[in-house]
Structures are given as C-alpha cells and as structure tokens.
C-alpha cells in the first residue's frame, strides 16, 4: 500500500522584521504545511503568506494565536477547522467545510466556498464574497458571551441554517447567480431553534421551512442591528453600503427553542 505522498521540501521559512513569513506550498502535503505554519507561529510570525496552495486540507487547523494567514490558491477541505483566534484570508475560491466548528477568529474568502461552510461554529466570523453550496451554517450555536457570524455575499443552496441553534447568518445575493434565481435554496431553516437568519433580495417563501421558522420583512430596528455587519462586509470586499441597503431584507427566526420536544418521551 502506498504511503501518503510525503515531501521533504518546504524547510522552515524566514520571518522578516515585520513578522511576515512566506511559505511556498507547491507539492507539499498538508501535514508538512501545517507543521510549517505552526513552526513559524511559534517563532513569532504575526503574518503568514502561503502561496501555490492547491487542495491541502486543514490549513490553519486549531490555530489559537492571533495571527493572519493569507492563502493564495484553492485550499482543501476543512480550512480553519477548530480555529480559535487566527484570521484566515483566502484570495481564491475555497472548498467544503470552511470554518468547521470555528471557535473564534475570522475567515475571509474572496471567491466562492463549497458545501457545509461554518458547520457547528460556536464563535468567530466567516465572510464569503461569492456563492456558497449546500448545508451552510448548520448546527451553528451561541453562548451568552459568544455569537458566531456568517455572511455570504452571493447565494446559498439548500439547507441553509438547518438545525441552527444560535448566531447570525446573512445572505446578501449580490452575485450573478442571485439575478438568475432566489438568494437561498430549499429547506432553509429546517429544524432551526435559535439565532437568526437574514436574507436580502428575492426569496421564494416555499423554500423556507415555515414549520419551524417565521419569515418576515426586516424592520428599521433590525436593519440598524445589521448595519455594522454590512459595513464590515463592504470594507472587506469593496462594496457600497447604499447599494446593499437598496433592497429588501428578510428575517427568518425560529418559533421554538425546542421544536422536537414533542418527539421525545417526557422527562420525569
């Protein structure tokens, strides 16, 4: 049986006076790549620029230090999984499971991202400029001190916010795919029992799981709450706030914090 393609390349990179380390990921297996990232962080790097990334998984997994990691190329699945403080910036598309169980910190994707983004995230922020795939923001949760935030500039496919238990999900419909259809796919908010979901633009009410959630138009107070988030989005991706506000926003909120309570035997 073949061993995983290990490469010996990628010796520990230099850290310059500004605390920047550059890593060339070409041909490097993800294990080695993450070793290099941790190593430069240990040696004091504050910014890490990784170039020629192509499909390496788990980049920046579990990083607790407040460093910034810039990724050039398409990172593999589970980017920034379990991250706890780092800022990870992707300058291309990202694949599936970005920010899996994110704890704190921020992930910024300048392209599209795949399925299952922000799965079970319990803190931190994810900003995606483009579209995202299926099952985004499912099982998001929050604590009194920590509220996760996931903002999608384009559209989201089916099962957005499924079983969402907390935090905020925002979908802005600013890409071409929103002009071709609705901003969110089917089964949105199924089993949702906490947090809130905000949608901008055209929504098909039959796509919203109204057995679990209420769909209503955002009022002035809600929009005022959203404004700081939208400002942040505009700064990151160079959008005009007025253009974003020039369209209707919808709010999806759960009816109950225990939608499945009736499905279990009563607790004595």
């Amino acid at each position: 049986m073949s061993e995983i393609i290990e490469t010996t390349s990628g010796s520990a990179p230099e850290i310059d006076n500004e605390g920047l380390a550059r890593i060339d990921a070409r041909g490097i297996h993800y294990r080695r790549l993450n070793e290099l990232v941790r190593e430069v962080v240990r040696r004091g790097a504050r910014r890490i620029e990784i170039v020629n990334v192509n499909g390496q998984r788990y980049i920046a997994v579990g990083l607790q230090e407040k460093v910034r990691v810039d990724i050039h190329g398409v990172p593999g699945n589970d980017l920034a999984a379990f991250c706890d403080g780092a800022e990870v910036v992707v300058h291309n598309n990202a694949q599936d499971a970005v920010g899996n169980t994110l704890n704190s910190g921020r992930v910024i994707v300048h392209g599209d991202a795949g399925d299952v983004i922000g799965y079970g995230m319990r803190g931190g922020e994810i900003f995606v400029r483009g579209d995202v795939g299926y099952r985004v923001g499912i099982h998001m949760k929050e604590e009194p001190r920590r509220k996760p935030l996931l903002v999608v500039g384009g559209t989201a496919a089916d099962f957005l916010g499924e079983y969402q238990a907390g935090g905020r999900l925002v979908v802005l419909g600013l890409t071409d795919s929103a002009r071709r259809g609705t901003v969110v796919g089917d089964y949105c908010g199924t089993g949702m029992h906490g947090g809130a979901l905000y949608l901008r633009g055209q929504v098909d009410p039959s796509h919203i799981a109204t057995k679990f959630v209420a769909l209503s138009e955002a009022n002035e107070a809600t929009l005022a709450d959203l404004k700081p988030i939208l400002k942040q989005f505009c700064e990151l991706f160079d959008y005009d706030l007025d253009r974003i506000l020039d369209e209707r926003f919808w709010v999806v909120q759960p009816f109950s914090h225990k939608p499945f309570a009736g499905g279990y035997a009563a607790n004595p």
Binding site: S2, I5, G55, G76, Q95, D96, D115, G133, Y134, A157
Partner: protein
C-alpha cells in the same frame, strides 16, 4: 479466491471522482488525470483505484473490447472457450502492466477485441454482447469482464489510483475522455473487480456515495436479465443507464430524472404542465429505478461525459470549463492541477446533470 481476497485495512475518507473530456475529441495521455486524482489522495484509502478511457483503441474502433480479470488459468480457459463460441476474436493479448510495490494480488489481466460484424443477421449486437458479459461474470467463477465497449477501456485495481495508473502504464494511452476514481469502500469489501469504474458496453460509472436502494434496483434490473455479481452497489448504476438509455431509449437527461427523481412536492409545484406530466409518469413507471441515498457520479459514454448528484447533493461535485474542455471533480483543486485558470468554475445543483458531448465530426 485470489483476487477476491479481503483487504481489511480501514481508514477514514470518502471517494474521490475526476473526469476530463475534450469536446473536440482531442486526446491526451493518462498522466495528467493520474496527477489530478492523486491531488485528492485523502479521499481514498488505497482499497480501490481506477480509470475509464475513451478513444484508446482507434485501430480497433469497430470491435468490442473486453477487459477481463481472472483468478486462475481455468477461468481464463473457460472464458476464452465462451468467447470463441460466440464471437470472432480478432485479437487478444495481456493488458500491459508493470510491477508496482503497492499493487498486490494481481489477477491475470487480458483483453480481447471481438468482431461484431461476424454475427448472424437480425441479432441485436449490443444485447448479444451484454448477455456474454453477464454469462461470464455470473457463470464463470474467478472471471470478471470489467469493460466491454468499443474504443474504450477500464483499468482498475485494489490500490491508490496514482499507483493503479502507473501499474497499467496509462501514460501509454491517449483518450478524449478520462474518468478516475479513488475508492473508500464503506459497505462492501475491497477486491479488484469492486474497484471503479463499473462498465457495460460504452457506459462507465465512477461513484462516490452509497446506494440505499440497491436491493430494489437490483431486483428490478434482474427482471430485465441483468445479473448483479460484483458485490458492490455501484454496479446497478451502470446497468440502470444501460436499461434506460440503450434499451428504453430515454434521453440521458431524462434518465437522470429517473435516477435522481424530483420530490413529489416539487413535481406538484411544477408550472409547466408537460414537465409535470412527464415527471409524474417517470416516477410512476420507474419507481424501482430511482436511486436513493447519497451519490455523486461521473458517467462516461461513447460521445460524452455526464456528472450527476443525488437530489439533495449529499456528495460534493464541482465542474469547470475551459475552451472545449469539461472537467468534473469532487474537489476544485484537482481541476487546477490540469488547468490553472478555467474560464468557468461552478458547483452543479442537486439532481441536475452536467453533460458534455463530443462535437459533430470530432
């Protein structure tokens, strides 16, 4: 059984798929596709790798080519007797391969170019070929026909696809469609014949997922004479395409509506009455051909390639186009191995096929 012996190693992962085609029929060798599927190494666990290649036997383009694996000489003798009785065997040879440290338990690997023009008049040639494949796979112990199309072939083994590709020296073949698979077996044992692709005539299927409806699909297919002998759920997928597209003459896209059938609530909401009637009829007539469970597949056929997801997209699939090239992959990064900047990259929607056809005259 030598080549059906169990491989017990288990590791976490998920299957990987990759497909490339040139709509203009421009051929390239297998090196690039090997590199692309290897980029998703983590998706497999070394218990199966394989490739389908179209356009590789231009000098035998009118002949059916059987790729066959044997566990022993007796199986080979019996199979060759059967082939000799039913066909004119124009040429036969060992499938070229080279020793590879990671590829073990190799069966005997042979290919046969069968002249279909010698058959009696009035014989449905394709049906005749399918019967021969079924009779060998079900009737001859330790023999497995693993591809049976024209000007195409499958290459597969227990191992990682990059090792399987080197074992079969796929840099020596030029194809206008390549599909590739990295296997992570979940519900069935690993053996050479259980590696993907699964093929019948010109159809080949590589699959990521589990077919929960395998039992229903299998019993349905058996009523049409298909014999499911390969110990793996994916087998039914290729026979379903053969049944729906070849025998029942459904357009490919309609066959996809049978396999990844729309939900009744979506049929009810359809405003186009003709579509509504068609989809209702398909669900009623082909209830037992619906494929339930998570899947992403790439189907190769003589003049094209198709990608399809289950109706709620429980397995990943990304597609890209660049010039006349179509790419379908489990992960976008694998596409960039062959094409740094595709003109278009997108995530196909659940249950909606992505199809590339060869251009006329290609």
């Amino acid at each position: 059984m030598l080549f059906r012996s169990k491989y017990n190693e288990r590791d976490r992962g998920a299957c990987g798929l990759f497909g490339w085609m040139s709509r203009k029929g421009r051929r390239q060798n297998g090196e690039g596709v090997i590199e692309a599927i290897a980029n998703m190494h983590e998706r497999g666990n070394g218990l199966g790798g394989g490739f389908a290649a179209y356009g590789i036997y231009p000098e035998w383009r009118d002949h059916y080519c059987f790729h066959v694996m044997y566990g022993n000489e007796e199986a080979k003798d019996r199979t060759e007797d059967l082939l000799g009785q039913r066909f004119e065997v124009a040429h036969q040879e060992e499938i070229p391969h080279q020793p590879h440290p990671a590829i073990t338990n190799e069966p005997l690997l042979w290919r046969y170019f069968l002249n279909s023009r010698s058959l009696a008049e009035g014989v449905d040639t394709q049906e005749y070929v399918v019967s021969a494949v079924m009779d060998i796979n079900a009737g001859i112990h330790e023999a497995c026909v693993f591809s049976s199309g024209k000007n195409m072939g499958a290459f597969k083994a227990v191992g990682y696809p990059e090792d399987v590709g080197k074992f079969f020296m796929l840099d020596q073949y030029e194809a206008y469609i390549w599909t590739a698979h990295a296997r992570f077996p979940t519900n069935s044992q690993a053996w050479w014949g259980g590696a993907h692709p699964f093929c019948l005539l010109d159809f080949s299927v590589v699959h990521n997922g589990e077919i929960s409806s395998y039992g229903i699909n299998r019993r349905y297919l058996e009523t049409f004479g298909y014999k499911c002998t390969l110990f793996t759920d994916t087998e039914v997928m290729v026979y379903l395409f053969d049944l729906l597209v070849r025998k029942h003459r459904l357009p490919l896209e309609v066959a996809c509506d049978v396999l990844a059938a729309p939900f009744w609530k979506d049929i009810d909401a359809e405003v186009d009455e003709e579509q509504k009637a068609l989809r209702t009829a398909l669900r009623q007539v082909y209830a037992s051909a619906m494929v339930n469970g998570p899947f992403a597949i790439i189907l190769g056929f003589g003049n094209g390639m198709l990608g399809l997801n289950d109706r709620i997209k429980l397995r990943p699939m990304v597609a890209a186009e660049n010039g006349d090239e179509l790419y379908i992959s489990s992960e976008e990064a694998a596409i960039h191995v062959l094409c740094a900047e595709p003109e278009r990259v997108w995530m196909p929607k659940a249950g909606q096929p992505v199809v590339g056809y060869l251009e006329d005259g290609a």
